[in-house]
Symmetry: C2
Subunit: 138 residues, 2 copies
Amino acid sequence: MKKTIFVFSALIVSLLVLFKISTYSYTSGNSRIEYVISGIAIVFFGIGLYVNRRSASKKNLEPQQVDLDKLEDLGISKREYEVLVEIAKGLSNKEIGDTLHLSESTVKTHVSNLLVKLDAKRRTQALQRAKELNIIAI
Amino acid sequence: MKKTIFVFSALIVSLLVLFKISTYSYTSGNSRIEYVISGIAIVFFGIGLYVNRRSASKKNLEPQQVDLDKLEDLGISKREYEVLVEIAKGLSNKEIGDTLHLSESTVKTHVSNLLVKLDAKRRTQALQRAKELNIIAI
DNA sequence: ATCAATTTGGTACTTTAGTATGAAGGTCTT
DNA sequence: AAGACCTTCATACTAAAGTACCAAATTGAT
């Protein structure tokens, strides 16, 4: 939350500076108050833009972030999830067994359980469901 | 661009209203100018937030746009691409045939050609390659 | 009109994928 | 310790997926 602290600090400083400017404007000449107000409006409009740009760029990354809480809801175990990730890479059951040091039989068991838990008939459908549920990246 | 028009209209109206308030504040009593300025700051900060929220939600959709020029480079025909899209939805060859009004044989032919053109051994690997090449959404 | 590529479809075959069922060891909780 | 769940693996089977050829109608460009 470093960004939040920075933004709020900037807000407070801007507020103080503008208060002083407005006070100065008042004592020296009133005809410039409109300009000061315009300046304040522009500055805070810019700050509003900046703050949301930060949070927006965050949100662009979040959709590719996995929602690991949903795994518990779906009853998907760690090992099953590991298999799911390898499926997403386009590997066959045999290849998944090699990379995770499992027999093809075990992989098939995990895949079968995944299909039930993801309510899918095929591994491609499982991938599509997993993407919908945000439990795998991209 | 209806949103842009609305936002700028709101900006102009806010500006006019705040100018009148500030003028009134000035003639009736100067002690409230700080409050007016604070109000202006908050309002324009909020407008800045709103404007960026609109444009941010637009940008979230763009990265999932397909790069159709690459299809020519890869030699993937229209029909083959249609089959690829259905594969991404998790459909079986039979189901793809039903939705595209093709026999399962034809779908198999298209899939086989896709696998060669995408340099994949399986349909799941084809999906992963297609995502890498940005030729399918999500 | 001809040639190349696309689209469609078939048969026959091999290879993966997926189901069903059983079993055994490990872990964690009550 | 007993029960529940996870993990591992096996066998036997069915169902898809994928390959290899072949063939014919369609389309697009030269």
